[in-house]
């Protein structure tokens, strides 16, 4: 794909400042014509700031270029973006350079139809109006494989799913055949199967129009599938640059090597019975110790046909018209010291199962047994006491701690609630030390910590009441990869030390493969396949499991990305009242490996619901 004649964009010795802080220092790179350059880095590395500078949008974010230049060598001749006037920049933006953002929910204007938003871009840059603009917009939507393209033109953004919105964004971005497309984390907010589709579309656009792409991402797997060349950034500086193959397979810089070690690679655990920690540089040598297997005696928790539905009301009197069938007849067991992973995409009901188990929502039917006691049949005071046994860690380390309480106050509260508070200062110090923080952090407020540290505080809070089970609901998804690996290692250390059980809820197959003893795959509120990690990952049986595993980006630049079949979105779990779906049973394909008995109907059934 890459053509080495001349670069399309050159960045020379670029430095960017926000006030007194330097966000980018002395950055230089070239984007190959028709090829893809990926900028990789963790949060705060300056990768997004660089892309804003390339669009000439820097002054809207409060930053300024302090040295260096950015030059575009496009079909309209040479342009120096760093020195161009605002009028020139307006002509370039959307016309010669266009951008796709991370958040498909907010990057489209909610009060205009899809058609009029694409139409506006076409009018502005290509002078198309009325009928012609509409035809062109429909053609563009067909190009990004949006089903029923013409009908979609009259719909509003909120009527489309995240994946469909991102396709509309791509259609808008390529509407003027730009020389350069900047994609800033375009798939980070999307489910893995949808991500695979979007990456496929970007590749298709590239080969159709010969567009060059700057692809910004923190995800090495995605980068490996997309990039011809890679720039690795850290704290505003370039750490390493080179051909994708070299950077991924033969990284030179220490930081790149550490980053690669922290990336969970799917398939890396083949043949392993138990979970294994990440080998992080600078970590103690007890790595090789095998992670303990769970005690297969009496189950700690047993869910028996738990069904949870949410009512959707409509009309003046708030009559229940539809129900979200979030979890349907979910049954599983977790043993002491075991990690059961619940995987699925958004809307699969995996969080609902966690919240039901934690008694945050009340199921419509089913039983939850904790060491043989049916929690739901207890009286309210007993149930409140039971909340000590199961603790919850949330996804967002910024939201799960009260911003107005110090760390100490946050840690003390659960202990005080359950009468476990003896020597507050010593207990808080112990907890902080056990999650790798310092006792003197106790007096600080949450905003003084980084995301990874906050998640450690959340873990400390969960540990404070000495629970038997911790529910980790996407607990590491919002963290940078290197921090994610550290937090996962910490969680596994704690499990090995205390014999804790985890319900690990995640959409990330590679992380799940690393941490879990057993895996349950959820689709549309039901478990469709469940077994040991090896059974599910090495011999997946259900078509949906296979599809999920195929969609995970593989960090192997030597292997061309697999052609993705573009099927639609995940169907909605919302159903009218009085029209429940028929649940399926299970067949046991191997000892402990359960499979939905209607797996053969899956594709048909999916189509049926989607239509």
């Amino acid at each position: 794909m890459s053509d080495t004649t001349a670069p399309i964009l050159t960045v020379e010795d670029l430095s960017i400042s926000f006030g007194d802080t330097e966000a980018v220092r002395g950055l230089s790179f070239e984007v190959p014509r028709g090829g893809t350059l990926a900028i990789v880095g963790e949060s705060g590395s300056g990768k997004s700031v660089t892309s804003m500078a390339a669009m000439g949008l820097l002054k809207f974010t409060g930053g300024r270029v302090t040295s260096g230049r950015i030059q575009l060598h496009g079909k309209g001749g040479e342009t120096e973006i760093t020195g161009a006037s605002e009028a020139d920049l307006r002509r370039i933006r959307g016309n010669r350079i266009s951008m796709i953002f991370q958040e498909p929910m907010t990057s489209l204007d909610p009060v205009f139809t899809i058609g009029s938003q694409i139409g506006e871009a076409l009018k502005l840059h290509r002078g198309l109006r009325g009928r012609a603009a509409r035809d062109e917009a429909a053609r563009l939507l067909e190009l990004v494989r949006l089903p029923n393209a013409r009908a979609q033109l009259d719909r509003y953004p909120h009527q489309l799913s995240g994946g469909m919105r991102q396709r509309v964004m791509i259609a808008m971005a390529v509407s003027c055949r730009p020389d350069l497309l900047i994609a800033d984390e375009p798939t980070t907010a999307l489910d893995v199967t949808i991500q695979a589709q979007i990456l496929q579309i970007i590749r298709d656009m590239q080969s159709e129009f010969g567009t060059s792409v700057v692809f910004i991402s923190h995800d090495m797997g995605v980068v490996s599938e997309m990039a011809d060349e890679i720039v690795v950034m850290r704290h505003g500086e370039m750490v390493e640059a080179g051909r994708a193959e070299d950077v991924i397979l033969r990284p030179k810089a220490d930081y790149t090597r550490a980053l690669m070690a922290a990336v969970p690679k799917i398939g890396a655990m083949q043949g392993q019975e138990n979970p294994r920690k990440f080998d992080l540089p600078g970590q103690a040598a007890d790595q090789t110790d095998a992670h303990p297997a769970p005690e297969r005696t009496e189950p700690l928790v047993r869910l028996d046909k738990v069904t949870t539905r949410y009512d959707l009301t409509s009309g003046f009197l708030g009559r229940v018209s539809h129900r979200v069938h979030a979890a349907e007849e979910v049954s599983f067991e977790i043993h002491p010291g075991e990690t059961l992973a619940l995987v699925g995409e958004s809307g699969s009901g995996k969080s609902t199962v966690g919240k039901t188990l934690q008694q945050l929502v009340t199921p419509v039917s089913g039983r939850i047994l904790y060491r043989g006691t049916d929690i739901l049949s207890l009286d309210p005071a007993e149930r409140q006491r039971f909340k000590r046994e199961i603790q919850y860690i949330f996804q967002d380390p910024y939201g799960s701690l009260n911003p107005r309480k110090t760390v100490k106050q946050s840690l003390i509260e659960p202990m005080a609630t359950h009468g476990l508070l003896k020597k507050a200062d010593a207990q808080v110090a112990d907890l902080l030390t056990s999650v790798g923080l310092k006792p003197e952090h106790a007096g600080r407020y949450p905003h003084e910590f980084s995301g990874g540290q906050r998640q450690r505080i959340a873990i400390a809070r969960a540990l404070s009441v000495d629970p038997g089970l911790i529910i980790a609901d996407e607990a590491v998804s919002a963290l940078d990869v290197s921090v994610q690996a550290q937090v996962i290692n910490l969680m596994m250390d704690i499990q090995a030390r205390r014999g804790l059980a985890y319900l690990f809820i995640s959409h990330d197959m590679a992380v799940v493969e690393r941490v879990s003893h057993r895996v349950a795959v959820m689709y549309l509120g039901e478990i469709v396949e469940m077994g040991t990690r090896r059974q599910v990952f090495e011999t997946p049986q259900h078509p949906y499991t296979k599809r999920l595993l195929r969609a995970v980006p593989v960090m192997d630049p030597t292997r061309p990305p697999e052609r993705v079949t573009l099927t639609g979105d995940i169907p909605s779990p919302v159903r009218p009242v009085g029209d429940p779906r028929r649940s399926h049973g299970f067949v046991e394909v191997a000892p402990g490996h359960l499979l939905a008995d209607n797996h053969q109907d899956f594709e048909k059934y999916r189509e049926g619901i989607a239509s």
Partner: protein, 274 residues
């Protein structure tokens, strides 16, 4: 920023302590209650002599004395009615927003209906039935204003109850009372404090409107609002009759706003370190 914040606090505190102190000591300072008339010195201009430093009104009553004594009624009405409304509105808003359900719907429809009623109309009807008086005015204002706070708090609670730190507190079994007052209320306080300080000013003026309409307190008892109303006819010839009570209201509100701003920032650890 820190310097300015401290200035805000000190300035607000000085204003409120000065005005509040004078008002509290008014019985000692002006034993006649500002009622003594000096008909030989009617409409004396301010700053012309030591007998009447701020001048006199059309009946020859000393403006300084009346401003200080009048503060008793105005301070009391303004602050007590705002506090009462804040307390009732907050509790209702917290419960309605957190538990939702039919009570929430009933209370909020009730609030909508009440917000649609003009205050003066409500006041005239109620006073006509129960008769005028200071305590009744305060009750009336509380009844009229608690809905604003209830709606405001309920709105914040609706989003805060979905916040993960609230769910986290639920998940480790914290009793609802502690979740409401320990986690949700502190995070919902900011706008409440601002609205309350603004309402103190409104209430001082409302009291004057009611007194003007003959629905308020005994017209012989001085109050800032009453003095504003009295001075209306002389605004061209003797503006000081109106200016000084107006200034008193303005400085009180300014002081409360400064303190309110400071309090809001103090309650927010993010703001405190910025």
């Amino acid at each position: 920023m820190t310097g300015f914040k401290n200035f805000e606090f000190v300035a607000g505190l000085v204003l409120i302590v000065l005005i509040g102190g004078a008002v509290a000591l008014s019985g000692l300072l002006f034993p006649d209650g500002g009622r003594a008339m000096d008909l030989t010195a009617r409409l004396t201009a301010p700053f012309t002599g030591w007998n009447h430093p701020l001048g006199t009104d059309p009946l020859g009553r000393d403006i300084l004395a009346r401003v200080v004594v009048g503060g008793r009624v105005s301070f009391f009405v303004g602050i007590v009615s705002a506090l009462g409304a804040v307390v009732i509105g907050t509790v209702v808003g917290l419960l309605a927003g957190y538990y939702r359900g039919p009570w929430d719907m009933f209370l909020m429809r009730f609030a909508d209906i009440q917000l649609a009623l003009p205050f003066i109309l409500l006041a005239m009807t109620v006073i006509a039935i129960i008769g005028p008086g200071l305590d009744r005015i305060i009750v009336l204002m509380i009844v009229a204003q608690w809905v604003q706070y209830a709606r405001l708090i309920r709105g914040s609670v609706l989003s805060l109850r979905q916040a993960e730190f609230v769910q986290a507190a639920q998940s480790y079994g914290l009793p609802d009372r502690k979740i409401l007052f320990g986690h949700i209320l502190p995070n919902a306080m900011g706008p409440l404090v601002i609205l309350a300080t603004l309402n103190v000013a409104n209430n001082i003026l409302l009291e004057s409107s009611l007194t003007f309409l003959g629905l308020g307190i005994d017209p012989l008892v001085p109050s800032w609002g009453g003095m504003l109303a009295d001075g209306r006819n002389y605004i061209q010839t003797a503006p000081w009759v109106t200016i000084f009570p107006g200034l008193a209201i303005m400085l009180t509100v300014l002081g409360l706003n400064l303190l309110g701003d400071w309090l809001r920032d103090r309650l927010d650890p993010l703001g405190a370190t910025k």
